[in-house]
Symmetry: C2
Subunit: 334 residues, 2 copies
């Protein structure tokens, strides 16, 4: 019986694969390394990068193995949904380029997978997939106008309007991470100055911390990192903040305020019902969210401010798989 | 034959009324004073403010007269579309409050007009009406994803997505004027700091000019205003800039850069095909647009930057009438 979906979440480090029921329940799951990343956060090569064709071959083998192991026939799979870093063309299933994946320029991902597996495949941006997952079965369930900020190495996002993913005219909508927050702020990877990502992403929060510590700020982070500042992480900042470290608390507060400005702008532009934050940083809980909410409420107009809920995501690492599968299921009805 | 529309554009100073064909051509037009404004830009009372009920009575009389004079029967009118300052509820046709209109709190505008004229009436936000007008028959004709910035006393805006007006969940989408551009910037009328409106609206550009002149800046504006700085207008700044006045040119350039930041944010969030600017300030032409475009291109991501056109509106003062009528015609199919 044709009643299952495959959801795939392609990341710089690994590829998560799931078999799902048509109502989005993950029944089996696996993960393979990507082997395509140019380097880690410090640009150290991790593995000889593979060509995208070879990665897709491994991906398809992993799908086949996962099905075989669980006694599911490929013929039971209705569709495959892929979430992939972009920019990309979701209609054609072509990846234009991805800063973190080596050699993926103009790569026909959809065609390549369909050739291997003979199953209709739908490709979408990774942040859009995660957003759709949260809308379909996560924190956004039951709402029709949903905005999601994805806090990873970078900051991405997605927009659901009237129950449909809004992609923009070139699959480039929802790039909240590259909205300008401080016009003369720090340089961003995109070339612009003062982007939200340059101010509030986990690596950039860590960078700010290290720079201030080097300038003499006293904080528990020095002890927690055994004096090796390069090992400081967002998680470590969270731990220090829980232990009452003022500097760490202020780092999270400042990051929350930057995110709050971006949220206020989105509220005044889109007037959504709910804004969801996903990614590792949301573990900081109210140490972060209190400041996001406060700044957003201060800056948004009364109507959109009164309406909106600002909440953490619910699906964790599964959002990408679930959303990719969900978007494959609804297909062009978007 | 039921084949005509009425479009109404309610402003703080006057109310514009038009009779249109169903394809949006204005065949007759009139205008009446609003008599509801609290005061002029300097808060001097202009006229004893009328109650909204009395204004609507005059509005309906003006509609009847316009029809009568032109030998059009009320029974030929399919629908009446109204553009009105908000916040408002477009489904119910209720105005929640309007900062510039006296006593309009929770006023049931739609019901009140329908009681007088017995013609189905549709109420929308004024900026949304102007946006829809430009989309339907102006600079946005032929595009499906359109953003419009309305540069008046304040800065408003509207969003057309896939050929439909996007209003947000409480009719509050498209408030580009209240997105934060400089977090610690000047105080805005809305209570927030550093809003686009506080930096780039015509009155605020004039305010900046006056403050700098008082601090000793030399400029032709002093002569053009006969030394009475309070008479400086955005138009006067434009004239000085055309005459080569460096200060005036830089005022427009600075205003353009602020607008450009807001445009870049909208491009990265919505990835539209076209961004339209309407309102008196667009007469400055390339003295303004060159800087809007340059700043937007610098800050937007490559895909949305490459795609978008940034252009002046085409319908001038008629956009509101045309758009209000158009939105009445499409009704809830939005």
């Amino acid at each position: 019986m044709k009643n299952k979906l495959i959801g795939v979440d392609i990341g710089g480090t690994n590829i998560k694969i799931g078999i799902l029921t048509k109502d989005g329940k993950i029944i089996h799951k696996t993960s393979i390394p990507t082997y395509s990343i140019v380097g880690d956060a410090y640009m150290r090569p991790l593995h000889p990068p593979e060509k995208p064709q070879d990665i897709v071959k491994r991906l398809c083998d992993a799908v086949k193995n996962l099905c075989y192991k669980n006694k599911i026939k490929l013929s039971e799979i209705v569709k495959i949904g892929i979430g992939c870093p972009g920019p990309l063309n979701s209609k054609k299933g072509i990846i234009y380029s991805t800063p973190n994946l080596f050699g993926w320029e103009n790569f026909p991902l959809k065609k390549c997978i369909e050739r291997h597996l003979k199953i209709p495949t739908v490709v979408n941006n990774d942040a859009n997939s995660a957003t759709y997952g949260e809308y379909w079965l996560g924190a956004g369930k039951g709402y029709s106008t949903v905005v999601c900020f994805t806090l990873g190495t970078g900051i991405g996002g997605g927009i659901i309007l009237n129950g449909k993913l809004f992609k923009g005219i070139d699959d480039s909508a929802g790039h909240f991470g590259h909205t300008t927050i401080v016009p003369d702020g720090p340089k961003c990877g995109c070339g612009n100055k003062g982007c939200l990502e340059a101010l509030a992403s986990a690596p950039n929060m860590v960078k700010r911390a290290i720079s201030k510590i080097k300038n003499g700020t006293r904080t528990k982070l020095i002890v927690l990192s055994n004096g090796n500042l390069n090992t400081i992480t967002a998680k470590m900042i969270h731990i220090a903040a829980i232990q009452g470290d003022k500097f760490a608390k202020e780092l999270l507060a400042e990051t929350g305020r930057y995110l709050g400005i971006a949220v206020a702008n989105v509220l005044n532009i889109l007037n959504p019902e709910i804004v969801i934050f996903s990614g590792g940083m949301i573990e900081a809980g109210d140490l972060l969210f209190k400041h996001i909410r406060k700044e957003a409420m201060k800056r948004a107009l009364p109507q959109p401010a009164k309406r909106v809920k600002i909440v953490p995501a619910k699906l964790g690492n599964n959002a990408g798989i679930i959303g990719a599968a969900g978007l494959a299921l609804v297909g062009d009805n978007i």
